[in-house]
Amino acid sequence: MSDRYLNIALPKGRLGEKAYGLLAKAGYECPSVLEESRKLIFEDEGNKVRYFWVKPSDVAVYVERGSADMGIVGSDTILETEPSIYELLDLNIGKCTMSVAGPKGFTDDRSRVLRVATKYPNITRDYYDGLGRDIDVIKLNGSIELAPILALSDVIVDIVETGNTLRENGLIKYTDIMDISARLISNKVSYKFLYGRMTELMKALENVVKEEALKA
């Protein structure tokens, strides 16, 4: 069993490609991963790793249910869905903030319920609970910035990377709720049976993350 493939779920898209870059530097290469194709599963016999691309918000599901032993996922997804997994390493990539944004000149009228549009209802509720502010969460699946413009909500809670999208839509970032970055996660049971290999991978990856931080 110890020489079986280590299954790693990567989030489709730029973050996943960056994360794979770090893994390759750490010695877990699988050159076919970056080839343009519709294939979703890639194996490297030498390293005994198998990568697969899944929708970013699904990574934690694959890992929690053991179809992937490890995975790369944004800390926003972890906080929102609270999967039962181990969160082994901050990869220091995909950095952004979870923030409250709203139209220019917005002031919170405490005599009214605050309407908040977001993709992250749990994080939003937690945050406003902590402030003791009564809110109405409006769960959306995309184009969150549109909500305050069309008066669907007063403010939004969303991840902000450069702030360009906000600016272009005339919105202003008011408060940062938390910092977000990509994390290496693992299934709790796989971690135990593959402890040696997983800690080796984690330590190698940790060194690469440190080197990258020095370069920056």
Binding site: M1, G66, Y86, E87, K192, F193
Partner: protein, 365 residues
């Protein structure tokens, strides 16, 4: 797993576990009645979920489909001496899509406990895991060891946060909380080691010696190593590991805590520990330890996936004499095989196919 009774994997394990627990003198506990909802309401902190399936009984009282067996066993405990009980029951808990009926086997040992009794319960946990499959691990820890360090250096909020991050083995999260709480590097490093270290019990007990910073930790370490010593008498080669990151359930567990894993099942199949708090909550003297095996998870094991519907699929033709068919079926069953008689073979998973040729049974390889 092949078994003579032709049982599903989880049914077979359930039977074997009952046998095992009886061999060590654990008496069966049977819950035929429905508890009043109030029992679960009053002790909701000791339940995994506070959502309970309720109904109004014929006498107008609100009763519940049991979400848990332990509460009933502890409630029935009369405080007289040691009670060793085992059970095999269904519990009703919320799942992803509504309430589910989950099969659970387990045991409870209630009374005045000592390392011998703890060792015996752990041995039965190891033997339970071995019954399920040879690829297994039993992780153990002591809730007091970790929380005594957290309580010494952190206020209750930070302490709760750090145990939560520890349970996720989130070293970066631990560092962040320690920095916020102005914890020095030495203690931070201990928390990090608690999160990252994992290994055979004896090796870990050695590592834990260096982590001790107060008398409560020392006491917990001694309790844990005494119990491991006894367990080793029973199970010298048992795959017993220590994982200090299991410390988030301190409301429920008060000392020893353990979880069992089977290769090929992505969740814990066994979970248990010392739960003296529940006895105290119900106003009873003494200690309690127990564990449950989650049989429902075993249905997902690979072996179950190639399960066959029958050994022999006997294809019946309109021209066959029913007398010949009955005779053939009886013969096959007498040989210990299961037979399914069908006109067509649609969607039946069988080992061998057979038919009658001129009234004589012919089995195809």
């Amino acid at each position: 797993m092949e078994n003579a009774q032709n049982l599903r994997k989880d049914e077979y394990i359930q039977l074997k576990l009952r046998e095992l627990y009886r061999q060590y003198g654990y008496l069966p506990y049977r819950m035929g009645r429905f508890e009043e909802y109030e029992l679960y309401m009053r002790n909701r902190n000791f339940l995994r979920s506070d959502r309970i399936l309720t109904f109004t009984d014929t006498d107008g009282k609100l009763r519940a489909m049991k979400p848990d067996i332990t509460l009933s066993i502890v409630r029935d405990y009369d405080g007289a001496g040691l009670q060793k009980l085992c059970y095999s029951e269904s519990v009703f808990r919320p799942g992803n899509s509504g309430f589910r009926q989950i099969e659970q086997s387990g045991l409870e040992c209630i009374g005045k406990l000592d390392p011998y009794l703890e060792g015996e319960v752990l041995m039965l946990a190891v033997k339970s895991l071995k019954t399920i499959g040879e690829g297994y691990l039993l992780d153990i820890s002591h809730v007091g060891f970790v929380s005594a360090l957290a309580d010494q250096y952190l206020d209750s909020i930070f302490s709760m946060d750090i145990l939560k991050e520890l349970a996720r083995k989130n070293a970066d999260g631990i560092r962040k909380i320690c920095a916020e709480a102005s914890i020095d590097k030495e203690i931070t490093d201990i928390f990090i080691r608690m999160s990252e270290s994992y290994g055979p019990a004896e090796e870990m007990l050695d590592i834990m010696k260096d982590m001790v910073r107060n008398s409560d930790m020392e006491k917990a370490l001694k309790e844990l190593s005494d119990t491991v010593k006894i367990l080793r008498e029973f199970e010298p080669d048992g795959k017993i590991m220590i994982d200090l990151s299991m410390a988030d359930d301190r409301n429920y567990y008060s000392g020893l805590i353990f979880r069992g894993m089977t290769e090929g099942v992505p969740e814990y199949v066994l979970s248990g520990g010392r739960y003296d708090n529940l006895l105290k909550r119900m106003g009873k003297e003494g200690n309690a330890i127990g564990f449950a095996v989650y049989l429902d998870l075993l249905g997902d094991m690979d072996e179950s996936r190639d399960r066959k519907d029958c050994d022999i699929l006997l294809i019946r033709k309109d021209t066959d004499d029913p007398k010949d068919i009955v005779k053939a079926v009886d013969e096959l069953i007498a040989k210990g095989m299961s037979v399914r008689v069908e006109k067509e073979q649609e969607r039946i998973r069988y080992r061998k196919k057979a038919e009658l040729k001129d009234g004589v049974l012919k089995i195809y390889e």
